[in-house]
Amino acid sequence: MVDCPECGAGVDLHDDLEVGEIVDCATCGAELEVIGEGPVDLDTAPELEEDWGE
């Protein structure tokens, strides 16, 4: 259980999380990016405009 960096509530984490993976905070709905795995560290996921590649 890690605290949501947005609202402070605990965020439920499934196993085998990978760095870069996005999880949702069940309390505030924020999208959170896994920025470390040992221990798990979360940060607000960046908004990224979708593009359509080369």
Binding site: E18, G20, E21, I22, E31, E33, A45, P46, L48, E49, E50, D51, W52, G53, E54
Partner: protein, 308 residues
């Protein structure tokens, strides 16, 4: 419409194997040198006035097949990622970017310039890096979906074109050259993930991948040129199963809506690029087949799907 009514045209060609450029190159060279004859003149055997000026023409090309082939020859796996909305695009890490430069700016561009010179056009190859031809922000992080998981992938060498050095193209056109432009573009924002240079500072600009259809749209917009986008189908079809349903001309909002509804898969990219070209200042966009004897001329004369 006759070819004579177009002074300035940007031609997008694929560079991929599926789109054979030979016919296009001869056609481009004949349009540039002004020896172009209209369909009427051709059928009547009449020759056009030799003093007639040629079309100012810029070629923009892609070449992702060549990039994939070069990656394979080097024992590297091309990596494609899927965005949350289902669009598949190339993920270009630093090592892949080096191969991208080789295949796109080194091989495909040089081969097209050589082919155009053999066809009689005084072609000059440029990547988006040259003279800052295609510059914009880097996008090093991208949201992807892998095995159903949403992820953020960092270190992508990709960017979005924010400006075109139209003056460089104008200078070359004024001297009678045919510029042949391609990705990469020059991204501002190389600091992220870039290796520091010898003096300890990090490089601000970095060559990155960008979509060739969008590049052609940006160039056409900046030059106020008609964009002829050659592809492997003869235009956009209202019903892709029915060859009689080609959308010939799109001039009203209703027709435009029908066009976007009809465009599927890679064709939707062509339509998005068309929209960007028109918004950027292009008077007209034609999506037409590369597999015709004179694909550019016939597109300008009415083949394909014309969006205004």
């Amino acid at each position: 419409m006759s070819v004579d009514e177009y002074d300035r045209v940007v031609v997008k060609i694929g560079g991929a194997k599926a789109v054979e450029p030979e016919g296009a190159l001869a056609d481009i060279a004949s349009l540039v040198d002004g020896s172009a004859r209209s369909a009427d003149e051709r059928s009547s055997g009449e020759r056009s006035d030799p003093r007639e000026e040629g079309v100012e023409l810029v070629v923009v090309h892609g070449g992702s097949t060549a990039v994939d082939e070069a990656l394979e020859r080097m024992g590297m796996e091309p990596e494609y990622v899927e965005t949350p909305s289902g669009v598949v695009g190339r993920f270009t890490d630093a090592e892949t970017m080096d191969v991208f430069k080789m295949a796109m700016a080194g091989q495909v561009n040089t081969d097209l310039v050589t082919g155009l010179r053999n066809a009689g056009a005084d072609a000059v190859g440029l990547s988006g890096v040259d003279g800052g031809l295609l510059t914009g922000a880097r996008k090093s992080a991208v949201r992807v979906v892998e095995d159903g998981k949403r992820k953020i992938r960092r270190g992508d060498h990709s960017g979005r074109i924010g400006s075109v050095n139209a003056a460089l193209l104008e200078t070359l056109l004024a001297d009678g050259y045919t510029p042949v432009a391609s990705p990469p573009m020059l991204a501002d924002g190389g600091v992220d993930g870039q290796s520091p240079s010898a003096d300890g500072t990090e490089s601000r600009y970095v060559a990155v991948n960008t979509d060739a259809d969008r590049a052609s749209a940006a160039v056409a917009g900046a030059l106020g040129a008609t964009l002829v986008s050659l592809t492997d189908v003869e235009g956009v079809y209202a019903d892709p199963e029915d060859p009689n349903t080609r959308i010939e001309r799109v001039t009203t909002p209703g027709e435009y809506e029908a066009l976007t509804d009809a465009a599927e898969g890679f064709m939707s990219r062509k339509v998005m690029a068309a929209t960007e070209a028109l918004e950027g200042g292009a008077p007209e966009v034609v999506v037409a087949s590369a597999n015709a004897d004179e694909p550019v001329r016939t597109a300008l004369e009415g083949e394909g799907t014309h969006v205004l």
